[in-house]
Amino acid sequence: MDLITPNIGLAFWTLLVFMLLLFILTKFAWKPILGAVKAREKNISESLELAVKTKAEMAALHAQNENLLKETLAQRDEIVRDAKETATKMVEDAKSVSKIEAEKIIISARQAIEAEKASAISEIRSQVADLSVQIAEKIIRKELSSDDKQKALASDLAQDINLN
């Protein structure tokens, strides 16, 4: 019976000590400890959230970079294509200009040649005419050196005239 009869003295001391413990521990231990633990938990959860956010941001940045790269590549291709086109055009332009120039040169050369040719021909003609006259003079002198010959010539000429 003794064992299961609560002793008032011990009950009193237990109550007193427990209440004091409850008060002191709540004020000086549980609140600071739980506060620190909570602060740390908050810190950890915030850090995790930040990590997730940063990851998303990184992914976005990566995608952006890739887009930028793609755009840049496209731009580069365009520039290269443009440059090629320009170059081709320039070459073609140059070609056509030079062709025209060449044609002009050819034409003027031809004209000059024609003119030279004409003057040469006319000179040749005059020389040929001179020579012909000299030759004719010489022949005539020879032909007309005797009477027989003068008569034969006259008859030949007369014959030619008749034929005409």
Partner: protein, 358 residues
Amino acid sequence: MVLKNAIKSIVLSVMTLFSVTVAHAGHGAKEEAEFQVVETIMHHIKDAHEWHVLGDITFNLPIILLDNGIKSFSSAEFYHGVVKTDSITGNHYTVATGKGLGYAMFHEKIYKTDANGELRFEKDHVKNAKPYDFSITKNTTSLLMGSIIILLIMFSTAKFYKKNGAIAPRGIAGFIEPLIIFVRDDIAKDSIDIHKYHRFVPYLLTIFFFILINNITGLIPLFGANLTGNIAVTVVLASLTLLVTVFSGNKNYWRHIFATPGVPVPLLIIMMPIEVIGIFTKPFALTVRLFANITAGHIIILSLISIIFINKSAAWGFLSVPMALFISVLEILVAFLQAYLFTMLSALFIGAAVEEAH
């Protein structure tokens, strides 16, 4: 004989929870003849007004009596007092001398002596009046020491966070923090409404560590007292849980007790008393569970060690010491388990009291 006594005392002290006074002054010869196993064990698990550590090392604790004012003197007045024997029943008791004059002690209970300075017996019960005994007993001393240990542990834990801020716990904080978080999350948060549990966490933490630390100090050889195995302590703790439950009980809780929704009126007449009794049976179960578990553990260890003295042969130590060691280790588990159960059930009762209708 003296050597035998000393060895007996040492073995018991080291292997059991606190030392035994096999040979009391005055009737050593009788005890020597027969080892009183039940008396020895009961002596150990009950409270005492002195702290017997080992052999002749005994601390006399202060006696505080409330009897027409406060009377305070050393328990040495009893333990070194006059031993008297009741002529009819043959019971031995000690009458205090010096400042304790007018009081006598029988089986660690203090009574007022009659005009002749004697106690009157009726079988084994003393008929004399008893003063209110607020003495700093062995259990009270253990209570104070346990509290100091709790304060030291918790202050150094709190200091760790104050010094280092909210970092990962190391040292003592690394050991204590998981327990605190366990009480907060797995006991309080799981049993009590999520919006209300904060209020009860300090109480639950205090009760958890109070029971845990005192359970463990009770297991320390030589210094351990059977504090949490004392019904006065468990009654107080369970009553506090009862008070917290009753005073935090909301409308919904009381409606469930006095007018359970959906129960017809004739049935309510039967239900109501049952529900009201239920308010008290819950803390009663808490009281008995803790008291019985801890006391039982102490009794088992003491019984196993007593095998040596019952058989009067140290050879039995090869059997009883390993078994006592095994039970001691088991008791450490029980120390945690009972602290957890008491806290868990307190949280459940509080949780039921603050639960909203759904």
